[in-house]
């Protein structure tokens, strides 16, 4: 459950200050698949950073489940991210020389989970993200871009987060592979009831979600159900 109440963010740089978000309010229920869409400079990245507990709003309140995330210290935010948020980035951000499995286990290192439990959960997450077992011990720079993004999705799933936050997850992929990755999010949302927030500047990508929040100039332009949701059926062989 995400509740944003009048969130604003102002960056102060010497005598100049820039207001990037101007009182944004919305809420996302558990199990929703929402796209936050807007052109670059609209404030969507700042919004994503706040939702992802990477940054705190200047004003307003942000509640994630029962935690008020808007006024926490850096380490408390890190704790929230560890327990409740799974990130998927445009550029995957995998550890290049490490194996697929080790990449997925990384969040559990900081959660201080036992080794056997780590391996078990990481393998399960990889299967959930659609990467068959034969790839689990490959180095993460030996696999294709689509597979890399699946590893990143598995890494986001492994700590069983309340929220999966995907920042332009298809930006570095060709449209076919991008579509398969989007269908993976749809499947996780449909079958496991995962809450997914997708940040994108492309309408086409946003149309894979159930609901689209349109951001422009630091405010919400529109927030409505997506009437023409694109549904793709993924097949593992294609990745």
């Amino acid at each position: 459950m995400i509740e944003c109440q009048d969130i604003s963010k102002t960056y102060v740089n010497g005598p100049n200050s820039t207001t990037v978000l101007k009182g944004v309010s919305f809420s996302i229920a558990d199990g929703e698949f929402v796209a936050i869409m807007g052109p670059s400079g609209s404030g969507k990245s700042t919004l994503m950073n706040i939702i992802g507990a990477l940054d705190s709003p200047t004003d307003g309140s942000y509640r994630l489940d029962d935690d008020d995330v808007s006024k926490l210290s850096d380490d408390e935010l890190a704790d929230i991210r560890m327990r409740k948020i799974g990130f998927v980035f445009q550029s995957f951000n995998l550890l290049r020389r490490a194996t697929v499995l080790r990449n997925v286990m990384l969040p559990l290192v900081y959660a201080e989970v036992d080794h056997e439990e780590r391996v078990r959960r990481a393998r399960q997450s990889l299967i959930d993200a659609g990467l068959p077992e034969k790839w689990h011990l490959n180095k993460s720079n030996e696999i294709s871009g689509g597979q890399m993004q699946r590893v990143a999705i598995a890494r986001a799933l492994v700590n069983d987060p309340s929220l999966i936050l995907a920042d332009e997850p298809t930006g570095n992929l060709d449209s076919r592979t991008g579509e398969i990755v989007l269908s993976t999010f749809q499947r996780l949302n449909r079958e496991q009831g995962r809450t997914v927030v997708l940040i994108t500047h492309e309408l086409y990508v946003a149309e894979h979600a159930d609901r689209i929040i349109h951001i422009k100039d630091g405010g919400i332009l529109s927030d409505s159900k997506n009437p023409n949701k694109r549904v793709v059926h993924e097949s593992h062989e294609d990745v």
Binding site: A78, F87, N93
Partner: protein, 406 residues
Amino acid sequence: MKTSDILQETYWALLSNKARSGLTVLGIVIGIGSVIAMIAIGQGAQGSIQSSIQSLGANLIIVFPGAQRGPGVQASAGRGSAQSLKLSDAEAISRLPEAKAVSPEVSSRSQVAARGTNTNTSIVGVTPSYPGVRNVEVDQGSFFTDAQQRSSEKVAIIGPSVRDDLFGAGNEPVGQVIRIKGSQFKVIGMTKAKGGSGFNNQDDQIFIPITTAQRYLTGNEYVSQIAVQANDEASMASLQSGVTSLLLQRHNIGDAASADFSTMNQADIVAAASSVTGTFTLLLGSVAGISLIVGGIGIMNMMLTTVTERTREIGLRKAIGAKKRDISLQFLAESVALTFLGGFLGILLGGLISWAVARFGNIASSVSASSVLLAFGVSAGIGVIFGYWPARRAAGLNPIEALRYE
């Protein structure tokens, strides 16, 4: 983050950049290795100098003619050149209760010839008590007797180096004749090699009766020094003051400050030599220490580069829940691991160098446990000191900017 995970991450991180890690470690290896080797050589030299001073005799007080000198500052031109001590002074000293034995001596340097060869060596006029006081042992033949001294016989006991120079190594010297300043001396004995080296080769000496030396070599009744042996270490101080007051009285000097002789305690000589070699060790050690600091700067340089290169990785780790402490511990562990590895290899290298110096350079050296411990402590300390700033920098990165870093 568990300790085992930190170690594992460190292992992976260092292994992923073997060449760079190896070169950085090399800097520490050289630094620690040279510190260990230099301290070993310095301490070895100190030990050998002290033992060679001890081999001059035990519990000695040496009386020199001339003015008082400070410990260690000893101009050799002054020694024996002043004329104030006589054989009768030595006899008077021998009657002091604390004096176990007294050995006056007259020394000079002279050309010595035998069978067409010649050498320049030190001629020492001594009494029969000399071997006992100065730890000199006779290897072949015998030392001269009281009777030979009283009658100023021209007999000589030569050192092994003199034998090698005049007769060749291995040849029988006893019974040969040598010429010193135009007088013929009969060789009646040879001393055992002491292996003295450095400041004063005790094997390159010729001993003759002191009365003979005064008559044929110096032509006067003065002596160059008087060595007095105390009964034991505890009576050294009272012996020294006893000798001083006795000689002041005999020379009719009221004020001790204007004494025409000086006394030197063997402990003072050892202390002086120790302070010289101590300074020497410190000098060597600090030069080596500088290379250790350079190695440490190498570590810092590598860690800063690593932090910059891995900015995105740090951003990712923070995004998935790493706290500041986790990040700084991880990078600190990397630098400490590097210095520990370097310290370990450096101790091996230092031990090898000091072994090689002892084996091939004939300089005594010993690696002490304390220097190994010091090296390990210092290397760990360097890891923490030079790794702290890069680690702090990594921990302080803003995750949003770090993730966006190109």
